[in-house]
């Protein structure tokens, strides 16, 4: 084995010390009827052979296209300092800081992460991390049920479909109900959460609502009337969960400002690579009043016996290793290294840099909107957006496929992820970020124009 230290002589010494004559003898406790067949796996490869194999496999992915694809995972510029620092073995080969005396590095970085995320969300308490935006949202929804002793949440249809499906999976397990709030059809609020429908759903006193879950920006990129939604939720005794995108919080109203009780979202845009879906960063934040019900690790500031400032995991009585079946969640391993990446990213960008990232994305998106409209693909919905929006393209899926042939990844044909919805059948969800260039936008516009005009194939 290339990575183990033991020589033949070491093994012999250890066997002799144990008092057995073979390694096989160490496995005597496995009943013979349960001994397995040999592992039928490919033979070992040297590091040099393996590196070629991996490079070849990675090369089979196409990441060279001009991309306008977002839909819950976003391309951003990551300063070089982020990965350089993340590769410190002292960070990435440590585990959960169970021994605080020799884990102050990890503990202080988590405390700083919690603090920065509290600033972004405008809330008080931030968990050390969850798996991703979808599971953080599901945990937020479960929190509302525990806090209110009610068994039903309302989730806007404009929340990311994967998040909605994850909530359904988690809620089926817990025998709780998650019902959908429909979207407005037509008019200036087309595609946003239907407030009148929400009011009707909340009025059903036989099935009181624990929490209302709405995303801002929504999956379709639209800005939602969060303050009004929060007021409606609170008027019926429900908690309000905002699903957020962290870069947008540099410029958009915060959950704290519009009265959300809990915020959930994915921190991937903060310096974490796309990596085909993970590892990402589940953000979960809440108001002070809910601190004892938030799942996941929390780090607090304290002192040591010499009076020095120090950090430690705290309020551990919520966690599975202490409370077992009564824990707030079963979460143990989290996404700490991704939270560290997000912290370093925020430190490198600073408040003005992060605002620039958000605002530049918005500027590029406006440019994109104009280019696509000129090419014959107008926006589908009229409401305000930040940097992601839908356009109407007849036969969106096949246009999308043909544009790949032209080197352009034209966002997401929404029907691929939300099938069977006539109002979205022709929708392409596209986004721009600070790394989208005017030249890329022009190339997309020109190629789309040719496709829609039935021009050069």
């Amino acid at each position: 084995m290339a990575y183990g230290p033991h020589t033949t002589e070491d093994r012999a010494r250890m066997l002799a010390a144990i008092g057995v004559d073979s390694i096989d003898a160490l496995f005597a406790d496995i009943p013979s009827s349960l001994r397995s067949s040999k592992l039928n796996l490919p033979p070992p490869e040297s590091e040099s052979e393996l590196s070629v194999r991996l490079e070849t496999m990675a090369g089979r992915n196409r990441v060279d296209l001009i991309s306008f694809l977002g839909a819950g995972a976003y391309r951003h510029f990551t300063p070089a300092v982020v990965d350089q620092l993340l590769l410190r073995g002292e960070f990435y080969t440590a585990y959960t800081p169970y021994q605080p005396e020799i884990s102050q590095g990890t503990l202080q970085t988590i405390y700083e992460y919690q603090s920065m995320m509290a600033e972004l969300t405008g809330l008080d308490v931030v968990s050390a991390s969850h798996y991703d935006g979808a599971t953080a949202t599901a945990e937020a929804a479960l929190m509302t049920c525990r806090a209110t002793h009610r068994e039903r949440v309302l989730v806007s249809h404009s929340v990311h479909p994967h998040y909605r499906e994850t909530i359904q999976t988690y809620f089926a397990g817990a025998a709780l109900a998650a019902d959908e709030i429909p979207l407005v059809a037509g008019g200036p609020a087309d595609g946003t959460t239907d407030l009148a429908a929400l009011e009707r759903l909340l009025a059903d006193t036989d099935r009181p609502v624990a929490g209302v879950v709405v995303a801002n920006p929504s999956f379709l990129g639209l800005l939602e009337p969060m303050a009004e939604i929060g007021k409606l939720a609170h008027a019926s005794g429900a908690l309000f969960v905002a699903v957020v995108e962290p870069v947008s919080l540099a410029v958009l109203a915060t959950p704290g400002e519009y009265g959300a009780d809990i915020a959930a979202g994915d921190g991937q845009p903060l310096g974490i690579p796309l990596s085909y879906g993970g590892p990402y960063l589940g953000i979960l934040a809440c108001r002070d009043a809910l601190v004892r019900g938030i799942p996941g690790r929390l780090v607090g500031m304290t002192t040591d016996v010499d009076g020095r400032r120090a950090f430690v995991m705290t309020l551990r009585a919520r966690e599975q290793d202490i409370r077992r079946e009564k824990a707030a969640s079963n979460i143990c391993t989290n996404q700490a290294l991704c939270a560290l990446a997000a912290s370093i990213y925020l430190g490198a960008m600073g408040p003005h840099g992060l605002r620039d990232v958000a605002a530049l994305g918005a500027a590029r998106a406006a440019e994109l909107e104009a280019a696509l409209a000129a090419a014959g693909a107008p926006r589908l919905h009229p409401g305000p957006y930040l940097n992601e929006f839908t356009v109407r393209v007849p036969d969106a899926a096949s246009v999308h496929a043909r544009l790949i042939g032209r080197g352009i990844l034209a966002g997401l044909p929404v029907a691929r992820i939300m099938p069977g919805e006539p109002s979205l059948a022709d929708a392409l969800l596209v986004c721009a970020t600070e790394i989208t260039t005017s030249a890329e936008i022009a190339a997309f516009g020109a190629a789309l124009h040719e496709e829609l005009a039935g021009g050069v194939r």
Binding site: M57, G89, P100, V251, G278, T303, Q320, R323, T333, L354
Partner: protein
């Protein structure tokens, strides 16, 4: 409170000075946000730290140096498998073709990653003796939830809705009962037998028409192979329940025991323990779940499929109606799975078997030597880890496991897992892993020997340990009673004082 001890630096917030840092991206046009109505915009800016890149770098490098890590020393944290992870696995996950691939990229653009995932599923199924594997769960605990939701779906699908109980031994990981609760089951805790193994009679007494499943960790959390497994699995299946295996300790048994072949219906695998992926200060990991025939229809969606023409694709929404659905967004913690794939390819079948062999060899060697110093409650051969106890030491000297653990820090070692499993008094769960040299293991034994001697001659030295760490024992009570979980706002350009 001292703002900064001699080794702890200020927080990033305290380092902040207005006007420093940033400048990584171009400035946007002034009117970039003018098209968005004011009510949607943030009223006040986020008070994030403003630091220059050199300060930022020193901040994090200095913080990193306050950590103990596998890359700096021996980390025998039982149950967590803190072994050395080959650096090529880290390199592989960063290859641009893997790292820059969007999770919703059409299948035709993602053939490299889809092939890797498909092959990894097949390898893990082979290692676990399972019919199929889902790679979607983000961590072991989420794998458990995925597995138990499939158990629930299986019974419901058969119209068997009375099965509300899950049986777990009292030595189980806390995640097992917490998972059972999340999946809507009632946990029934079964005491362990005197030899540390499952008490089959006690299980038999609790098994019945209400039992949905048992959850068993094998090898167990005391590092023993469950020698009465056949009997237990038969009893479980006789009453129509399913058997879940917590695969946290799979690293002991590769090539020797395949849970699926033995009769387990479902298991999770902590790839960050058995295979590769450094633990990252708490994560990320990944928790693939293997299933036998019975649970196949209920696997989460989407699965990775190989078409007859050799191309790979993800299932489309609604393709497998009996699926429990998604347990997260997108395909999984793919970056972690790339590392696991690289590890498995580097080792091959024989190499993985050798990993387990060496892990078990090291644990038994260390156990034999530690038995001269501390109590070792279960005398028989162990698997990849073993439990020691300071119970005798405590009654002789008043020195507890906590004190021994803290003193180990002064000797340059990360302490083992302490006070777990709950079934052993003053427990230390010690897992040396296969990547530690004989010299390291011997040095650890010598440190323990010195500490036990100190317990008799100078107990105060242990009560007050550690002495040589960046900070000493912490006031955890105040931390919990008056939680300070975030830095409070800075005031102007003044360096703020913590309250």
């Amino acid at each position: 409170m001292t703002v900064a001890g001699d080794r702890l630096g200020p927080t990033l917030f305290e380092r902040s000075r207005p006007g420093r840092g940033g400048g990584k991206v171009p400035h946007p046009p002034k009117d970039a946000l003018a098209r968005i109505p004011g009510e949607y915009l943030r009223a006040t800016g986020a008070r994030l730290p403003e630091v220059s890149e050199p300060e930022l770098t020193r901040h994090y490098v200095n913080l990193s140096q306050l950590n103990y890590a596998v890359d700096t020393g021996f980390y025998p944290l039982g149950s967590c498998t803190m072994k050395y992870n080959p650096k090529i696995d880290e390199w592989a996950a960063r290859l641009n073709g893997f790292a820059a691939l969007h999770p919703l990229a059409p299948d035709e653009l993602a053939q490299g990653t889809l092939q890797l995932l498909w092959e990894l599923e097949a390898s893990l199924a082979e290692i676990g003796g399972m019919k199929a594997v889902t790679l979607q769960p983000a961590a072991g605990a989420q794998g458990e939830l995925t597995g138990m939701l499939m158990v629930k779906a299986y019974h419901r699908h058969r119209g068997d809705t009375e099965r509300t109980e899950v049986l777990v031994p009292d030595s189980s990981h806390g995640t097992n009962p917490a998972t059972a609760s999340m999946a809507g089951f009632k946990t029934v805790t079964i005491p362990s037998a005197a030899d540390g193994g499952v008490d089959v009679q006690a299980f038999r007494a609790a098994l019945g028409p209400r039992t949905a499943a048992i959850m068993i960790t094998n090898p167990s959390t005391v590092g023993l192979f469950e020698s009465r497994l056949c009997e237990l699995l038969d009893a479980v299946h006789e009453v129509g329940a399913l058997a879940y295996m917590d695969g946290a300790n799979l690293n002991a048994i590769m090539g020797r025991f395949k849970p699926g072949e033995a009769g387990f219906d479902v298991m999770h695998i902590n790839v960050h323990k058995t295979f590769s992926t450094p633990h990252g200060g708490g994560g990320p990991g990944a928790g693939p779940v293997g299933v036998g025939e019975k649970l196949l229809p209920f696997l989460p969606s989407p699965r990775v499929l190989r078409e007859p023409d050799g191309r790979f694709r993800l299932e489309v929404p609604g393709e497998r109606p009996d699926s429990i659905g998604r347990v997260r967004a997108f395909a999984g913690n793919t970056g972690v799975l790339v590392r696991a794939y690289a590890y498995i390819r580097a080792h091959g079948g024989l190499g993985l078997c050798e990993v387990s062999d060496d892990a078990v060899l090291a644990a038994n060697y260390l156990k034999g030597r530690v038995a001269d110093i501390l109590d070792v409650p279960f005398a028989r051969l162990c698997m990849h880890e073993f439990v020691a106890s300071a119970a005798t030491l405590k009654s002789a000297t008043g020195i507890r496991t906590l004190d021994v653990a803290k003193r180990l820090i002064d000797y340059g070692f990360h302490p083992p897992t302490i006070y777990f499993p709950l079934t052993v008094e003053e427990a230390l769960l010690i897992e040396p892993t296969e990547t530690e040299s004989l010299e390291t293991l011997d040095a650890f034994v010598e440190a323990l020997r010195c500490i036990v001697a100190e317990a008799h001659t100078d107990p105060d030295l242990l009560h007050s340990a550690p002495h040589d760490s960046p900070v000493r024992r912490l006031d955890e009570t105040t931390a919990a009673r008056q939680p300070n979980l975030r830095w409070r706002a800075m005031t102007g350009s003044q360096m703020p004082c913590p309250d």
